[in-house]
């Protein structure tokens, strides 16, 4: 479905079910140089298990036109506007990587709009390697390779894929490579520049689940665990996967989100 946010169309995938604001709303927020299809399986699963799913494409990503925002704060403000534009008063929000920073920032700024929170492949702050950022800044295809390779468990190309017949690294790279020029860098720079407020995090009252990949090469599991210990009452789950949890552990993520958002 499409809505108008800050004067520009914004797209969200509804998981194969029509948008139904009568059901509990779940907003799924993708990470850097990605789009709604990151959530393909979990989105369909939640949409067919009682939730109103909105897997959003952030501005300049996937099917949403517009200019990529350059800070987590701007993205959080946009996400808040997106949720308001759908008519949903309060949503369960799951974010992955950059999306987790955006979701957390929104919960910190507008807790009245966020009923529950799930942070996947997360870290606060969220530093980005210098070489990676430089390659993205130059628009080098090497930055696609870096994100595709480090964004999955080490040497996952040598292991059986959880999605039969799909080469996760190959498919992941193609999704990243589809990103419009400059968007990957804008996203990574937003991660790099994000300065979360530790005091606000320690005061967060939103029920939160943190999901980490035991073999995450970008936001190491210890970073997710550390964040979970800071958020009062947060639960922590580690899965046998790398950073790209909604794809690498689609089944486990679907089940975890269903349980966390029930």
């Amino acid at each position: 479905m499409n809505v108008i946010v800050e004067g520009c169309p914004a797209y969200a995938y509804t998981g194969g079910q029509p948008f139904d604001p009568g059901k509990p709303a779940v907003v799924l927020v993708h990470g850097a140089a990605s789009d709604h299809s990151l959530w393909h399986y979990p989105a369909r699963y939640l949409a067919h298990h009682g939730f109103c799913v909105l897997a959003v494409d952030m501005p300049g990503h996937g099917r949403s036109p517009g200019t990529a925002r350059t800070t987590v704060a701007e993205l959080a403000r946009w996400l808040d506007a997106f949720i308001a534009a759908t008519g949903v008063a309060k949503a369960r929000i799951a974010g992955h990587s950059l999306g987790s920073a955006v979701a957390l920032e929104l919960a910190l700024r507008h807790p009245e709009h966020v009923s529950r929170l799930a942070l996947l492949g997360t870290s606060a702050p969220m530093p980005v390697g210098e070489a990676f950022l430089a390659a993205a800044k130059d628009g080098s295809p090497a930055a696609f390779d870096m994100q595709a390779t480090w964004g999955h468990a080490r040497q996952c190309i040598l292991a059986a894929s959880p999605i039969p017949g799909l080469c996760l690294v190959g498919a992941g790279r193609q999704l990243i490579a589809r990103t419009r020029p400059g968007v990957q860098y804008a996203d990574l720079k937003a991660c790099q520049d994000w300065v979360p407020d530790p005091a606000a995090i320690r005061a967060l009252a939103t029920p939160t689940l943190v999901v980490a990949g035991r073999r995450d090469q970008m936001t190491p599991m210890r970073a997710g665990r550390a964040l979970a210990t800071e958020i009062p009452g947060a639960r922590f789950t580690a899965l046998d996967a790398g950073h790209n949890l909604p794809v690498e552990a689609a089944r486990e993520v679907a089940h975890a989100l269903r349980a966390a958002f029930a």
Partner: protein
């Protein structure tokens, strides 16, 4: 500023390991043959979710199977693709690609230099289902461009044609495909990802007869279709099967589900489901046994071929040898550019004495096996005009570069000296 991509496994390593983990149930290091038609559904809720594509997993072996998936993921990794679908044969892979992209009213532009079975499908069979094909000389780029019509939905050629060993200028034909917002499908059976990756050259889809060099031992029939995941179906606007609601799966729009995997999703969820030309688990296992040594075998295949080509070219009984190693071959320069490690263990040649000399030559061979196949560890010989391409008329044969006396060889892994000795003796016999 130059940026170095991260280190990733070499192709040789991918050929041995990609897509396969030690068996989670038993720890078996070799790939288990999951010889089962179906998979137990743990509860009704999970069953519904698996059928409705809410959770990934195996349901029924016509749609997916763990042994077959290992082969699919391995060839996808080797080709640099997003994913793959294994099929009952190379012919099934070609049909699956076409049926996923178009229906009645669709049109294909194809190289005139094709394997006879592919030519049969395009020229004789698909018109009955409303799909027409225009054949063009593979090296004539203006002919490719001129043949594209508003209803054209696919360009198709062989990386290296069989049997005339014509080399397809994949980057140039891919550019024509891009200009027209349609994909280029390349049959890379002869080259394999070991000698060159068609997706890297610009192709959008790749298929193989896995019967040939991928399995390498002539023991199975199988095929595979690889999607590069790069083609933008939405932007093209020419592929409603991928970009408009599909009644056969609750109105799903495949390009909305996944812009990268749309083609693979439809090909599996409709193509395998409804046409059913899936690969058997035992077949996948046998192909994988061969695939593990692809990077050892192919250099030997092409090195021995180079010796055979040189030998035949210098023999008084031979009029002409067709192989890109020859400087007089029209694809010589192109082959050096696209396939610097060699491009083909297939060659053809014309004997003095025409069809009768060809008959005597084939009958006199003892080490070469006379049969309709290529890409075996064993060296093979055939007379295309009377076998693999016998349904072609004279004009089509000429367009495919096949003369009445053309003999095709597929060079195997025997010692080169033994092969040359066999050829030498048979050539003498052919001229008596």
């Amino acid at each position: 500023m130059a940026h170095s991509p991260p280190k990733t496994p070499h192709p040789d390593t991918l050929a041995v390991h990609a897509g396969q983990s030690p068996d989670p149930a038993t720890g078996a290091r070799a790939l288990p043959i999951y010889q089962t038609a179906s998979f137990v559904l743990p509860d009704t809720d999970t069953a519904a979710a698996l059928f409705n594509m809410e959770l990934p997993g195996h349901v029924y072996s016509r749609l997916s199977n763990p042994t077959v998936a290992a082969f699919e993921e391995r060839i996808a990794a080797l080709e640099g693709g997003a994913g793959a679908i294994a099929t009952a044969s190379g012919q099934a892979a070609l049909h699956l690609a076409i049926a996923t992209l178009m229906g009645s009213g669709g049109h294909i532009v194809a190289s005139a230099s094709l394997y006879g079975g592919s030519h049969d499908l395009l020229h004789y069979t698909l018109p009955r289902f409303g799909i027409a094909t225009t054949f063009v000389p593979p090296g004539d780029l203006s002919a490719w461009r001129a043949a594209v019509r508003p209803e054209t939905r696919l360009l198709f050629g062989e990386s290296v044609g069989n049997p005339s060993v014509e080399v397809l200028d994949i980057p140039a034909v891919a550019a024509i495909a891009d200009e027209n917002a349609i994909p280029l499908l390349v049959d890379a059976t002869v080259t394999t990802p070991c000698l060159g990756r068609a997706l890297d050259m610009g192709a959008h889809l790749v298929l193989h007869s896995a019967t040939k060099f991928l399995s390498g031992h002539g023991v199975v029939i199988g095929g595979v279709l690889v999607d590069g995941g790069r083609f933008d179906w939405d932007r093209s606007g020419k592929f409603p099967t991928l970009t408009e609601p599909y009644d056969g799966f609750h109105g799903i729009v495949f390009s909305e589900e996944s812009p990268v995997s749309a083609f693979l999703l439809r090909a599996r969820r409709e193509g395998l489901r409804d046409f059913g030309a899936c690969m058997a688990p035992m077949t996948a296992f046998q192909i994988l046994q061969g695939l593990e040594t692809l990077h050892l075998r192919m250099p030997r295949h092409v090195a021995t071929t180079a010796q055979v080509v040189s030998f035949l070219a210098g023999h008084e009984a031979v009029i002409r040898v067709h192989h890109p190693d020859r400087e007089d071959h029209p694809g010589h320069t192109l082959a050096r550019r696209l396939y610097p490690r060699g491009c083909s263990a297939i060659l053809s040649f014309e004997l003095k004495g025409g069809r009768e000399a060809g008959r005597r030559f084939i009958d006199a061979l003892t080490l070469f096996s006379h049969l309709a196949n290529i890409g075996d560890a064993k060296s093979l010989v055939i007379h295309p005009a009377s076998t693999t391409h016998h349904r072609m008329d004279d004009a089509a044969l000429a367009a495919a570069g096949i003369a009445a006396g053309t003999v095709r060889l597929s060079i195997g892994l025997e010692h080169p000296d033994d092969l040359l000795e066999d050829l030498s003796r048979a050539l003498r016999a052919s001229q008596k």
